[in-house]
Symmetry: C4
Subunit: 208 residues, 4 copies
C-alpha cells in the first residue's frame, strides 16, 4: 500500500519543470513591478526627472542582483532536473519548498531595496539565498539516495553538483559577512562575483 499512492501522484518531471518555469517567470518579472518611478508631484522639469532616475540607481542594482540570483538558481534547478530519471512524491515536495523560496524572493528584494542601509534587511535577503541553496542541496542528496538519478550520472558529476552548491553558498555567506563594512560592500561583492562566475564560467569554481 505504501508504494501505491506514490504511483498515483508525482513522477512527472515535465510538469514540475513547467510549474518551476512559471514561478521563476512570475518572480523575475514581479521584481521589477516594485520599481516605482518618481512621484509625479516632485517632478517639475526634465532635470528633476533625470535626477530622480539617477537616484534610483542603488535600487536598480538590488533588483539586478535578484534577477541574477534567480537566473543562477534557475540554471541550478534545471541542471538537477536534467539528471533525474523520474520524480516521486517526496522529491516533488522538496522542489515545491524550493519554489516557495523562489516566490518569496520578490519580498526579500523589496525589503532590501527599501531598507538598503539596514543590516537586518541584508541578513534576511541572505537567509533567502541560503534557503534556496540548502533546499537544492537536499534535493540532490535525496535524489541520489533514492536512486532517482539517470544511469549516466557518475559519482564525479554527483560530487561536482554538491561542491558547486556548497562552494557558492560559502561565497554568498562571505558576501553577507561583508555587511560589516556596509551593505553596499556586500552587494557589490555578490554582484561582481555573480558576474564573474557567469562570464568566466565554467573555467572558475562554479556558482549555484
Amino acid at each position: 500500500m505504501a508504494m501505491f499512492y506514490n504511483q498515483i501522484t508525482g513522477g512527472s518531471i515535465e510538469r514540475l519543470a513547467a510549474l518551476s518555469d512559471g514561478i521563476f517567470a512570475v518572480a523575475m518579472t514581479l521584481l521589477v513591478l516594485d520599481l516605482h518611478g518618481p512621484v509625479r508631484e516632485a517632478i517639475h522639469g526634465e532635470a528633476d526627472l533625470r535626477h530622480a532616475l539617477l537616484a534610483m540607481a542603488p535600487q536598480i542594482v538590488a533588483y539586478l542582483m535578484s534577477f541574477l540570483t534567480l537566473g543562477i538558481f534557475w540554471n541550478g534547478q534545471q541542471a538537477q532536473l536534467n539528471h533525474f530519471s523520474r520524480s516521486n512524491q517526496r522529491l516533488t515536495w522538496i522542489h515545491l519548498a524550493f519554489l516557495f523560496a523562489v516566490s518569496i524572493m520578490p519580498f526579500s528584494t523589496r525589503l532590501l531595496a527599501e531598507y538598503i542601509l539596514f543590516r537586518t534587511a541584508l541578513i534576511a535577503y541572505w537567509a533567502n539565498i541560503l534557503l534556496l541553496g540548502a533546499v537544492l542541496f537536499v534535493s540532490w542528496r535525496y535524489a541520489r539516495r533514492a536512486r532517482l538519478l539517470k544511469d549516466d550520472v557518475s559519482r564525479e558529476i554527483s560530487c561536482a553538483m554538491e561542491r558547486r552548491i556548497t562552494g557558492a553558498q560559502a561565497l554568498y555567506a562571505l558576501g553577507a559577512m561583508f555587511c560589516y563594512f556596509g551593505n553596499y560592500v556586500s552587494i557589490a561583492f555578490i554582484v561582481v562575483w555573480a558576474y564573474m562566475c557567469i562570464a568566466w564560467y565554467p573555467q572558475l569554481v562554479p556558482l549555484e
Copy 2:
C-alpha cells in the same frame, strides 16, 4: 451534431495542463506579493526592523499554509490529469472551475492574513479549500463515468483517488471547526497535518 462540436474543441490534456501550471504559478507567487514589508516611517533603527519582521510571523504562516495547500492541490490535479486518456468539453470546464477556485486563493489568503482573528475569515478560507476539493471530486467522478480514464486505471486506484479527496476534506473540515478554540489552533492543525502528510506520505492516509 451533438458529438460534432466536441471534436472541434476540448480534447487536449496538454494545453489544460499548461494553463493549470500557469495559473498555479501565478497564484502561488502572487500570495507573497501581498506580504508588505513594514512601513518606512515607523522604522528608526535595526531593532525596529527586526521587531517589525518578527511581528510578521503569523502573516507568513498564513502564506506558507496557502502555498502548502496550493502545492497539495497541484499534486492532486496532476495525479488526475495523468490518469485521463483524453478530455472533453465538459471535463475542461470542470477543470476551469477548479482553476477559478485556485485563482481566488490569493484573495482568501489576504483576507485571512488581514483578519487573522476573525472566524468569518477562516470560514471563507475553508470554503475556498472545500470548493477546490469538491470540484476535484466531481472531476474524477465525471471522468470515470464518461470513460475518459486510461485503461490501466483499476477500480482500486479509482476508489483510492476518491477516498483521498474525501479523507482530506474531512480533515480540513475538522481543522476549520477547531476555530471554535481560536483561529491559531485551526491554522496550526492544518499546517501540522499538511506537513505530516507530505513528510510521511504515502505511509499515512493521504491528503489531497
Copy 3:
C-alpha cells in the same frame, strides 16, 4: 525574398500556444488580484466582516463573468490552434492582437466592477469581448484562405467554427443591449447564457 523572412520567423504553433497559455493564466489570475477585501478600519466585529463580504457579491459576479469569458475564449483559441497545420508571420500577429485583447480584460473588468451601474463601463466591457471575437474570426478566415488549416478540416467544420463565433457575438451584443434595462440585467443574461452553453454544450448553439 518575400517568402524568405517568413521562413525565419513564425511557424511554430507550439510556442504561440505556450505564450497564449501564459497570458491567459496571468490575466485570469490578475482578475482576482483586484478584489480588495474590506478596509480594516471599517470592521469592528464578525458581523461587520460578514456584511462587508456579502456586499462584495456583485463585484465577485463581475469577476466570475470575466473568468467564464476568458475560459470560453481560451477554448475557442485552442480549438483554432488545434486545426492549424502551421502558422506564419501574419497569423502569429493576428493571435498577438487576440492576446492584447485578452490582456486588457482585467482592466475592463476592474472598470466594470468599480462602475457597475454605469452604462459606459458595460459598453467598454462589451467592446472588449467584441474585439476578442472579431480577431478570432479574422484569424480563422485568414488561416482558411492562406491554406494553413490541417487537411482533415472539412468545409463543414470550417463553417461551424465561423458560425460559433458570430452566433456567440450576436448573443453578447444582445446581452449588452439589455443594459437599457440596467446593467445587472445585462450581466445576469451573459452569465446565465454562458453557464447554459457550458453545461449543455454541445447540444446547444455553441458559444465562443
Copy 4:
C-alpha cells in the same frame, strides 16, 4: 574540466523557451495592470466617465506600443531559438540578460505613460529597446561563432538575421530622435512603423 560543467547545466533550448514565454506573458499582461481607471470621486455621471476614458487615450497608445514592441521581440527571439541546435551556459546567460530587458519593459512603459511629455522618459524607453536589440544581436553573433546554429542555417540567413536587428534599431533610433519635435511625434512614428512592418511584412525590410 572546463567542458565538464557545461555538460551539467545549460543545453536545453526547451526550458529556455518556456522561461522566455513565461516572462513575456507576465510582462505583456503586467503592462495593462498599470492602466488605472479614472478615480471614483471625480466621476459623477456617464458623461464624466466617457470623458475620463477618452482622456486615457494617449496612455493606451503607450501601452499598445509596448505590447507591439514586446510582440516584435518575442518573434525575434523565437526566430533565433528556432535556429539554435543547442544552447550552452553562456548563450543561456545572454538570453537571461535579454529577459531582464523584457522584464523592465513594464517599468519603462509606466514611466513613459506617466511622463509622456518628458524627453527623459522617452530616452529611457528607447534605451530599453536598444538594450533588447543589442542583446539579441550579441546572442546571434555568439551562437554563430560558437557553432551553436543548426546546419541548415546558411550564411545568407545569418546575415539577414543581423541586418534585421540593426535595421530595426536604426529606425527605433530615428524614431527616438524625433522627440526633438515632441514625444507624440516619436511615439506615432514608432507605432506606425511597427504596424507597417507587421502588416506588410515580409515584403518590407523586416523589423526586429
